[in-house]
C-alpha cells in the first residue's frame, strides 16, 4: 500500500538572537523521516519539549515565523508546498491539538466544532456536529458550554470531534491523553483506533509509552531531535526484537520506571556523532564522530552504526 503521508529528512530549526545581534540557530528536529499509511496508526514517542508538536505544526504549515523547516512532506504522492498545506488543512489533513487552550475561550464549543461554514450550510453542520458529539457521549447541553466549562475528558472529545467533522484522510493527534483519567484514556485510545479502522491515517504524538503501545501499529522513537528507531508495535513485546540500544533500555525500564523516558533527551546543540553516544552501552570511537543515518531494514528503520542487518 502507498504511503498516505511521507515525511522525509525533515529538519526544523529556530534562528534566535541572543545578547543583541548574535544569531544562534537552535536545531529542534534533525533529519526526521517517517511514514503513515491509510488505516494505520503511527505513534511518535518522545519526551516533553523534544519537538513533537513542531513536527505536527510543520505538517500543517503553521510553524512560527522564526522557525525554518527543510526536507519534504509528501501527502498522497505530492510534495506539499506552503500553499498546498493551506488548501489541505482542515479538509484532508486535520490536527487534534494538544490542549483546550487551542479553543477560543469565548465561543461556545458546538459553534466552534463546526468551524467556519457558510450561513446556508450551518444548519446541516450543526446536525452533523450533534451526531458526532452524541457519538462521544456529549449531551446537548455541552453544545452551549464555553471551553473553560469543560472537564479535561470532555475537552478532549470536543477536540477529537473537530477532526471528525471535516472527515479528513490524515489525522495528526498531538498528545491526546495527558491529564485524563484512565477511563477517558481508554476511550480516547479506542476512538483513535476507530479512526484508523475507518481508513484514516493517524499520526499519534505522545510521550506515554503505554498509550503508544496500546494504540499504534508502528512506533517511532524520538531522541534528541532524531528518530532513532521505527518499529512495529508487536516487536516491543520482546526486547530482543528491538534494534536500538536506547529503545531496548526504554522497554527494559518500563515497569520500574513508571513508563517514563530516560532523561537527557532534550534537543542538543549540534552533535558531531551519534546523538545517543553519551548514554550508549555499545558505543565505539567511530560513533563519536559520525552521525549514523536512518536505514531501513524489513520495514523497520534504525539509526545506529552498530546495527549490522540482523537482530541479535
Amino acid at each position: 500500500m502507498d504511503d498516505l503521508l511521507n515525511v522525509s529528512n525533515i529538519s526544523i530549526s529556530f534562528t534566535q538572537y541572543v545578547q543583541g545581534l548574535n544569531q544562534h540557530v537552535l536545531k529542534v528536529i534533525s533529519d526526521l523521516s517517517l511514514s503513515v499509511k491509510e488505516g494505520e496508526v503511527v505513534a511518535i514517542l518522545g519526551s516533553s519539549g523534544s519537538g513533537k508538536s513542531l513536527l505536527a505544526h510543520a505538517i500543517l504549515g503553521i510553524l512560527p515565523e522564526n522557525g525554518n523547516c527543510e526536507g519534504d512532506i509528501v501527502f498522497k504522492g505530492e510534495v506539499l508546498s506552503q500553499e498546498r498545506k493551506e488548501q489541505l488543512r482542515g479538509k484532508e489533513i486535520c490536527l487534534i491539538p494538544q490542549s483546550v487552550n487551542f479553543l477560543d475561550p469565548l465561543m461556545k464549543v458546538g459553534e466552534q466544532a463546526i468551524g467556519d461554514v457558510p450561513k446556508e450550510e450551518r444548519e446541516e453542520a450543526f446536525k452533523k456536529q450533534r451526531d458526532v458529539f452524541s457519538k462521544y457521549g456529549l449531551s446537548e447541553e455541552v453544545d452551549d458550554l464555553y471551553p473553560f466549562e469543560l472537564s479535561g475528558g470532555m475537552a478532549r472529545k470536543v477536540l477529537l470531534s473537530t477532526a471528525l467533522l471535516s472527515n479528513p484522510e490524515l489525522v495528526v493527534a498531538d498528545e491526546p491523553t495527558p491529564g485524563l483519567d484512565s477511563q477517558s484514556v481508554k476511550e480516547t485510545i479506542k476512538d483513535i483506533k476507530q479512526m484508523a479502522q475507518d481508513g484514516k491515517g493517524v499520526l499519534l504524538i505522545t510521550h506515554e509509552i503505554d498509550v503508544a503501545l496500546k494504540t499504534a501499529d508502528r512506533i517511532a522513537i524520538f531522541y534528541s531531535g532524531y528518530v532513532i528507531e521505527i518499529n512495529k508495535t508487536e516487536n516491543f513485546n520482546d526486547v530482543n526484537n528491538l534494534l536500538h540500544p536506547y529503545t531496548k533500555s526504554l522497554i527494559e525500564a518500563l515497569p520500574r520506571n513508571g513508563f517514563k523516558l530516560t532523561e537527557g533527551v532534550q534537543p542538543l546543540d549540534d552533535v558531531d556523532g551519534c546523538p545517543y553516544f553519551e548514554n550508549c552501552p555499545i558505543r565505539d570511537d567511530f560513533c563519536k564522530n559520525n552521525i549514523p543515518s536512518l536505514i531501513e531494514h524489513d520495514g523497520v528503520m534504525i539509526r545506529c552504526h552498530k546495527y549490522n542487518g540482523e537482530v541479535e
Binding site: L95, M107, E149
Partner: protein
C-alpha cells in the same frame, strides 16, 4: 443585583466623602463667598451684613458642613452666583450639553479607534500598521488643547468653515438656541475630542489583537483552514471587543478632563466652561455641584466597565465574590 446595590452604597459614601472634602477645601481656601458675591452684585453695607448671615460666616465649620450635606440630600444646591439661577438648573442645562458632546465623541472615538486597532493588529508589521501606530503615538503625546487649537486653526482660521468665536453670552439658555446652531457648535469640539480619544483605544485594541494572533486558538483556527480575515472576524473581534468596551468606559475621567479644555477653546457652553467660570469667579455653590456631578459621571463609567467585565464575559459570570 446584589452587586448593583453594593455599588449604589459605594457611590453614596463616595459622594458624601467628596462633598465633605471639597467643602472643607473651599472653607480653608482664600475664597470668600461674601466678597465674591458682593463683587458680582455690587452690594451696600447693609446688604453685606445680610449676605454674611446668609452665608453663615460666623457659624462653626462643622455646623455649616452638616447643613450643606443636609441640603444636598434634598437636592438643594443653592443658587449660582454667576448665572443667578438655582445651581441644579445650571447643572442640568450645562451637563446635558456636555454629555452630548462627550457621548458623541466617546462613541466616535470608540468605533474608529476599535476599527483602526483591528486593522493595525491584523496587519501587524505592515506599513498600514506603522502609520496607525505612529499616528496614535503622536496623538497620545500631544495635549488635547493643542490639538484643539490646531483644529481651530485649520477649520476656522484657514478654511473658514466655522467662526472662531462661537461663544453665546453667558447665561443664555439652551432653549434659546436653535437645534442647528447647537449642532454647528458641537462639530469642532466633538471632532477634537474624538481624535484625542482614538489613540488609546486603538493602541489597546491593536495590542490585544496581536496577542490573540499569537495564541494557541488562533494557531488552531489556522490549522483548520480558516483564512486570516475570517479568524479575525470570528475569533479576534469576539475576544477583543469586550475588553475594549470596558476600557472605553474606564476612560470617562479622561473624557471629562478633555471636555473641560476643549469646551474652553471652542467656547462650547457646557459643564467644562461652567467649571472654569465658576473657578475663576469663585462661584462656590456651582463649583461644588460640578465636583459632585463629575464624580457621579466617572463613577457610572467605572461601574458599567465593572458590570461588563463581571457579567458579560462568560468566564467571570459564575463567580460572584462581592
Amino acid at each position: 443585583m446584589k452587586f448593583l446595590g453594593y455599588k449604589a452604597v459605594r457611590l453614596f459614601i463616595l459622594l458624601v466623602a467628596v462633598a465633605a472634602v471639597s467643602f472643607l477645601m473651599i472653607e480653608l481656601s482664600p475664597i470668600d463667598p461674601v466678597k465674591s458675591y458682593a463683587a458680582e452684585m455690587g452690594a451696600s453695607v447693609q446688604q453685606m451684613a445680610a449676605l454674611r448671615s446668609y452665608w453663615q460666616v460666623d457659624v462653626p465649620t462643622y455646623q455649616k458642613l452638616l447643613d450643606w450635606l443636609f441640603d444636598l440630600l434634598q437636592l438643594n444646591l443653592g443658587v449660582s452666583l454667576i448665572y443667578r439661577i438655582p445651581v441644579v438648573n445650571v447643572i442640568l442645562d450645562k451637563f446635558t450639553a456636555s454629555a452630548i458632546l462627550m457621548i458623541t465623541s466617546w462613541a466616535i472615538s470608540g468605533v474608529f479607534g476599535f476599527v483602526l486597532g483591528i486593522v493595525a493588529g491584523a496587519k501587524e508589521g505592515s506599513w498600514i500598521d506603522k502609520i496607525i501606530k505612529g499616528y496614535c503615538y503622536l496623538l497620545q503625546s500631544s495635549p488635547a488643547f493643542w490639538i484643539g487649537l490646531i483644529i481651530m486653526m485649520i477649520f476656522s482660521v484657514y478654511l473658514r468653515w466655522f467662526p472662531t468665536g462661537l461663544a453665546v453670552p453667558v447665561g443664555t439658555l439652551a432653549s434659546e438656541v436653535t437645534f442647528f446652531d447647537w449642532l454647528y457648535r458641537l462639530i469642532l469640539p466633538a471632532f477634537t475630542l474624538s481624535i484625542v480619544g482614538i489613540a488609546s483605544i486603538a493602541l489597546y485594541t491593536r495590542d490585544r489583537l496581536v496577542n490573540i494572533l499569537n495564541s494557541d486558538y488562533f494557531l488552531f483556527a489556522r490549522a483548520r483552514g480558516e483564512s486570516h480575515w475570517s479568524i479575525i472576524k470570528r475569533h479576534g473581534i469576539r475576544n477583543v471587543l469586550l475588553p475594549a468596551i470596558t476600557l472605553q468606559f474606564m476612560s470617562f475621567s479622561e473624557l471629562f478632563g478633555g471636555a473641560v479644555l476643549v469646551e474652553q477653546i471652542f467656547s462650547y457652553p457646557g459643564i467644562g466652561q461652567a467649571t472654569v467660570a465658576a473657578g475663576l469667579r469663585s462661584d462656590v455653590p456651582l463649583l461644588l455641584a460640578i465636583v459632585l456631578i463629575s464624580t457621579v459621571f466617572v463613577f457610572v463609567g467605572n461601574t458599567i466597565a465593572d458590570v461588563l467585565y463581571k457579567y458579560v464575559d462568560p468566564r467571570m459570570r459564575g463567580e460572584d465574590d462581592e
